[in-house]
């Protein structure tokens, strides 16, 4: 019988178990609050009601589109924007970190746009890119890209001088220094930059789906709120939060595999 418990013997198992207990307790409080009538259903639907809503949306859909479809649409929008932000942002950050001239040219624009709430850019983006998928892509892309670029550029600048000196004393040329020393050195930070960028980009999803969308979880939340369907609003928020959390965990898992030396030597 004791052997069954052995699969739970991995590192961090205790913490995960405690987290699950905390979540279970929160759900229990939620159930209790609605069951006892301490908060009206309009403001906080009960957990049971939420489950009914899920069944309804999966079967019948919201505005003719099933829940799964809304979710996939949002996920696709976000993942595509994240991928492009990574594909463009990582090389851009590397170049900025390695070449001071490129940094001098691009940095003012990066630092100007980064702190702007993407919500504020909506009118401009609609004007330039219309109300189709492009403008939604642009918003999420911008949010993720700028974070990744800054992260990567900083990582390159922070490679320890000693490491570079030792590499030079081992006879590397500029290209080798970049490819075999700098690049592996910043790999952990590349993942961290993507992690933060994806987190920020994901929160921009709702802003993006404010632009004349007809599908997506963010759009669903906005639309349902105007009909006072708090249950759908709450469900949408739970889905958004959980997905953001899972995306983060996914990146961390990939990071641990790709960069096993991080945080150690």
């Amino acid at each position: 019988m004791k052997k069954v418990w052995k699969i739970f013997n991995f590192e961090g198992a205790k913490e995960i178990f405690i987290s699950m207990l905390a979540i279970a307790f929160a759900v229990f409080l939620w159930f209790l609050t609605t069951y006892m009538g301490w908060i009206k259903p309009l403001f906080l639907p009960s957990p049971q009601e939420l489950i009914e809503t899920v069944i309804e949306l999966v079967a019948v859909g919201y505005r003719q589109i099933s829940l799964q479809m809304h979710f996939l649409v949002s996920l696709a929008r976000a993942l595509f924007a994240f991928s492009m932000a990574g594909i463009i942002g990582i090389p851009m950050g590397l170049l900025m970190g390695f070449f001071p001239v490129i940094n001098a040219i691009l940095d003012p624009f990066v630092q100007f746009f980064r702190p702007l709430p993407k919500l504020a850019l909506i009118p401009l983006v609609i004007l330039w890119f219309g109300i189709g998928e492009t403008s939604k892509f642009v918003l999420i892309f911008m949010a993720t890209l700028l974070t990744v670029v800054v992260s990567v550029a900083a990582a390159v600048k922070n490679v320890s001088e000693n490491r570079i000196r030792v590499a030079r004393a081992l006879g590397v040329n500029q290209y080798q220094l970049f490819r075999y020393v700098i690049l592996p050195s910043v790999l952990p930070d590349l993942f961290t930059g993507m992690r933060v960028g994806v987190g920020i980009g994901w929160t921009t999803l709702i802003a993006a789906e404010m632009i004349a969308a007809h599908s997506g979880i963010g759009w669903m939340v906005l639309n349902a709120s105007s009909y006072l369907r708090t249950d759908i609003v709450l469900l949408g928020i739970v889905i958004l939060g959980t997905t953001g959390y899972l995306l983060d965990i996914l990146i961390v898992m990939i990071q641990k595999r790709a960069v096993p030396w991080m945080g150690k030597a």
């Binding site: 960069v259 030396w261 150690k264």
Partner: protein
């Protein structure tokens, strides 16, 4: 030092660091003169800030002198290279590479034929006593072991000069003794010219053929000591011998006098 060509030389080397913002000048080295023969183990000894690391940087090619010349085999040093192996106080291994990959980094970056450097790597791994750890990553090794990898990594390239900046400074006393003996054993076999930086008088007298005592402000050589002890040297017996303690006392006294002098001058 006349007819014999030195392996490396510092000729009237002066290094000044100027900070434009603070409008200050630091004379890190002033008129440094030093020459080493091939195969000699030279030590630069002095307290922190005396300029010994600056001298090392000039030798390694990380920096250039303000005045004077640093020569290797009669030619001025322009930039870092494989001919001057460097071992710093921090092992500075590449954490994404295994031990063997770290050690063979130099040959691989310089197009050495594969079979050749694989054999060499095995030899150096044996020399530094790391057999069995070829496939370990740096974070799986202790500080002493990492430093051994760093030493092998520099030595595999058969440098003209091996430059070491307080390589055992970050290690505990016991490990340090072991590493000192290890280094001497390997050096006896390979007889590379070595420039070794330290602030530890015992270490300098144990390791070197000649010790150059440096003091700061400005950084200069105060005293040259030809170490009289025959090799191979046994650390345990040597350190407690009367002769050793006498030489050590002489050096310590000189360092103390010079340091006090500098402090008094600074006050006035």
């Amino acid at each position: 030092m006349t007819a014999e060509i030195s392996k490396f030389q510092f000729i009237n080397v002066t290094k000044i660091f100027s900070d434009k913002r603070k409008d200050s000048r630091t004379v890190a080295l002033e008129n440094l003169n030093l020459a080493a023969r091939t195969g000699e183990f030279i030590c630069l000894l002095g307290p922190s800030g005396c300029g010994k690391s600056t001298a090392l940087n000039l030798m390694a090619g990380f920096d250039k002198p303000t005045e004077g010349q640093v020569l290797l085999d009669g030619r001025p040093i322009e930039k870092p290279g494989l001919d001057r192996g460097v071992v710093l106080q921090e092992p500075t291994l590449f954490p994404w590479l295994k031990v063997t990959e770290n050690i063979t980094f130099g040959p691989r970056m310089n197009n050495a034929p594969g079979e050749e450097y694989i054999d060499k790597a095995k030899r150096y791994i044996d020399l530094v006593g790391l057999r069995g750890f070829e496939n370990h990553y740096p974070h799986e090794l202790s500080g002493g072991m990492r430093q051994r990898v760093a030493i092998a990594r520099a030595w595999i390239n058969e440098p003209s000069v091996l430059i070491m900046d307080e390589p055992f400074g970050a290690l505990d006393a016991q490990t340090r003794l072991i590493m000192q003996e290890l280094l001497l054993r390997v050096w006896e076999k390979l007889k590379t010219t070595v420039l070794f930086i330290t602030h530890d008088v015992d270490e300098s007298l144990l390791m070197a053929d000649r010790v150059f005592v440096m003091t700061a402000r400005p950084g200069r050589i105060t005293m040259e000591v030809k170490v009289p002890f025959s090799r191979p040297r046994d650390a345990e017996t040597l350190i407690f011998s009367k002769e050793f303690q006498e030489v050590k006392q002489k050096i310590v006294r000189v360092i103390k006098e010079e340091t006090l002098k500098t402090m008094l001058e600074a006050k006035n």
